[in-house]
């Protein structure tokens, strides 16, 4: 189900922002103008990835430096072991939609 999450301008280039969609915490990333979305909680101890460190398409957990590939959700570094759930993103006009059911 495609759900509007925010305006395109809400997520600056090379930045990550956290949104809640129907109680679902989402991290939305803007990598050089291309948008991605994952669950906003680190799979290690549920720290908020929206305040993590984003660099070269990798999001780093603000608490223990677990790393995940933003595009695939793949876990790249301990202490996390489980991949992030990813969500499809599309842009329509000025709005950014995430398919919150697909992964």
């Amino acid at each position: 189900m495609w759900t509007r999450v925010c305006s395109v301008g809400d997520v600056e280039e090379d930045d990550v922002c956290r949104f809640e969609v129907g109680g679902l915490p989402l991290a939305v990333y803007n990598l050089a103008g291309k948008f991605y979305a994952t669950t906003a909680l680190c799979t290690h101890e549920q720290a908020d990835l929206g305040s993590g460190y984003l660099c070269d398409g990798i999001i780093e957990c603000p608490k223990h430096n677990a790393r995940f590939d933003v595009a695939t959700g793949k876990c790249l570094r301990r202490p996390a072991k489980v991949d992030l759930k990813t969500y499809a993103v599309k842009v329509e006009g000025d709005s950014l939609f995430v398919d919150v059911e697909a992964s």
Binding site: E45, Y53, C55, P62, K63, H64, N65, R78
Partner: protein
């Protein structure tokens, strides 16, 4: 027995006021700050080592080697920072130096990473945080021994040998993922091999010199480092979700600040563990009005912490109350 997951379920860490845009600036990484810092450290260590070699037959060798040890103990801060992955923008540089400094620091790379992750999640939560340096009620003799790494260092050496033989230490069993045991054992074997080479060289040369350069400096040069790390949590409040209460910052001179990679800003580090070492002084200035005043010097900190540790022998419930500025509330 306290279960970490039960405590984490009620987590509510204090967070200071800072905008996302400001934090983004503080989080920026590069390689050159780390490379410059490490080059200076290696240069200093090498220079003192060479001077010690030249003076080995004189009494001057004693202060020179003491200084060598003090600098060598700076491996602690470098190991810690690389473990956080924030020294270098290039991730593999952090990992390489993390393992290297772990050998100097007698730290098990795998167990230390897991231990430190838990330390940040449950800072100063009794029974969960594995990095509390002083138990309550404290044993003052153990506290004194660690001015020269004698208690912690000996335990670390025993752990290294145990892990080398594939025996999981009780602490590691508590917080290391069993999947990581093989890696932990192999890293311990590597550490042990380096120690054995140094000991073998000392025996072969009939000289203490190899061990004066490797291994022992962490012990004989550990005094300032122990003062430094004691002030980070010892004597402060426990079982609270507030790093202002359970963590201490301290002002030190530029040399010690360099040596310990700005970890004197320890409250700031716990609030934002991803902020690279070179940004911590700026972060301290930014958060100044929201955090308790730091200890004004190592001496100021120790003169408050040591009496508290002594009091806690009879009254373990006592702690140093950190004064939180009104502005923060």
């Amino acid at each position: 027995m306290v279960k970490p997951e039960d405590v984490l379920a009620i987590e509510e860490w204090y967070s200071p006021s800072i905008t996302k845009a400001e934090m983004k600036q503080f989080l920026k990484r590069d390689n050159w700050h780390g490379l410059l810092n490490f080059a200076l450290w290696f240069g200093l260590l090498g220079g003192l080592g060479y001077l010690g070699y030249l003076l080995i037959d004189t009494w001057w060798a004693i202060p020179v080697f003491f200084l060598y040890g003090v600098v060598y103990a700076g491996s602690n801060g470098r190991h810690h920072e690389c473990g956080h992955g924030t020294v270098f923008k290039t991730a593999w540089l952090n990992d390489v130096f993390y393992y290297f400094f772990g050998i100097l620091e007698v730290a098990d790379a795998v167990a230390a990473r897991a231990s430190h992750a838990r330390h940040h999640s449950y800072t100063a939560w009794r029974g969960i945080d594995p990095e509390l340096l002083v138990m309550r009620p404290p044993k003052f003799s153990q506290f004194l021994l660690d001015f020269f790494f004698l208690r912690s260092g000996t335990k670390a050496l025993i752990t290294m040998v145990r892990h080398s033989f594939g025996i999981v230490s009780p602490k590691a069993r508590d917080f290391v993922d069993p999947e990581d045991y093989p890696g932990m054992f192999w890293r311990a074997r590597l550490n042990l091999a380096v120690w054995l080479v140094a000991i073998g060289l000392a025996l072969y040369l009939h000289s203490w010199l190899p061990l004066l350069y490797f291994g022992l400096p962490r012990f004989y040069g550990g005094f300032f480092l122990w003062c430094f790390v004691v002030l980070q949590h010892v004597g402060l409040s426990e079982n609270v979700w507030d790093h202002r209460q359970n963590t201490g910052s301290v002002r030190v001179n530029p040399f010690l600040s360099f040596l310990f990679m700005h970890m004197e800003n320890h409250v700031e580090h716990h609030l934002f563990p991803l902020v690279p070492f070179h940004q911590l002084p700026k972060l301290r200035k930014k958060l100044k009005g929201q955090l308790p005043a730091p200890y004004s010097s190592l001496w100021d900190g120790m003169r408050r912490v040591i009496p508290m540790v002594m009091k806690q022998r009879k009254h373990p419930e006592l702690f140093i109350d950190r004064m939180i500025p009104f502005e923060a509330d």
